[in-house]
């Protein structure tokens, strides 16, 4: 029971600061789940991100459900997914009720103008910390470069990018038979 409450509260904290949605929450998930709680390893988190990107639905909710399941089974999955949405649910309901015109409030815009570059910094730090785990030899560098160029230059669909990298992994590291 303590564990389930802990999963719920941890994802609530992540959800409360998860500006910018899914991928921007990654450093928060890494900090709380991998470093603070030690519930999963960074490598496991990277695998979860890969799966979640290929799965329908919002990345943030999917990650919370997956991590929640790994740590606390079925109830853990529910605790994770409810935890990650509870703060946004409350905030959006309050906004809808009292501040229909809040989008024009300059204070909110000012705050968000400060947070926006931070979201980019959060994702950059995810690139670095995930990179340290995911890229260990020259083959890995090659895969990352190929996929990045395919995404930017050839407008490759990210889901196809994951499929393609999986095929590259099979070819490079074997195990097909």
């Amino acid at each position: 029971m303590n564990m389930i409450a802990s999963i719920f509260l941890t994802f609530m904290k992540i959800g409360a600061f998860g500006f910018g949605g899914g991928l921007a929450m990654l450093p928060l998930i890494e900090q709380e789940i991998v470093h603070n709680k030690g519930w999963i390893t960074l490598k496991e988190l990277v695998d979860i991100i890969a799966i979640v990107e290929m799965t329908p639905g919002p990345i943030a909710v999917n990650s919370a459900t997956f991590v929640g399941y790994k740590v606390g089974g079925f109830i853990g999955a529910l605790a994770g997914s409810l935890g990650i949405v509870i703060v946004s649910f409350i905030l959006m309901t309050i906004l809808a009720k009292y501040f229909m015109k809040v989008k024009n409030m300059s204070q909110i815009k000012a705050i968000f103008r400060g947070i926006r570059p931070t979201i980019i910094a959060l994702m950059l730090s995810a690139v670095i910390s995930v990179g340290k785990t995911a890229i260990t030899d020259f083959k890995d560098v090659a895969i990352a470069v190929i996929i990045f160029i395919a995404l930017v230059k050839f407008k490759l669909n990210p889901i196809l990018g994951i499929v393609l990298s999986g095929v590259l992994g099979l070819i490079m590291y074997g195990g097909l038979l």
Partner: protein
Amino acid sequence: MRDYRKMLAMFFSLVKIGTFTLGGGYAMIPLVQKEFVEKNKWIDNEEFLDIVALAQTVPGALIVNSSTYIGYRLFGFTGALVACLGSILPSIIIILIIAIFFDQIREFRMVESVFRGIRPAVVALILYAVYKLSSSIPRNILNMSWILISTISIVFLSINPIIIIAISGLLGYKLFKGAVLDEHDS
């Protein structure tokens, strides 16, 4: 009674979108627009765009935020609850099935090879998201140096990202409060 049926229709619209849309929250927005604005005419296009803009200023998954707001707008608190659950229910079910399945197949060597290939691609995908997102902020010295300082603080000084977010919100408030905002921020 009519309201009740309409609320159920909203719930299943969101479940349908959540079940079939790959690519995360941003990919789901156009489908919500089609279902809610064009097909069912529950809200008009202008309000829909306002809601999406507002939903981006609140932490959390964009699709969950937008759905919650629309649900409240249409049916009050119950509507918000129904919409929020509708937008996350398919994810929970699908991920649970995959998570159960994944634990059993990850031992195979083939699966490990596939994931060894995918892991570096995840790095490329996040970098690509950075690349796309960076076009949405003005490229001035203030933004660039803040990005650099925050990244270093998180990665090398191990400062909790939550602290960085809080500081940047506070700085934004101090610096830009009352400023006439350019089109970049609208």
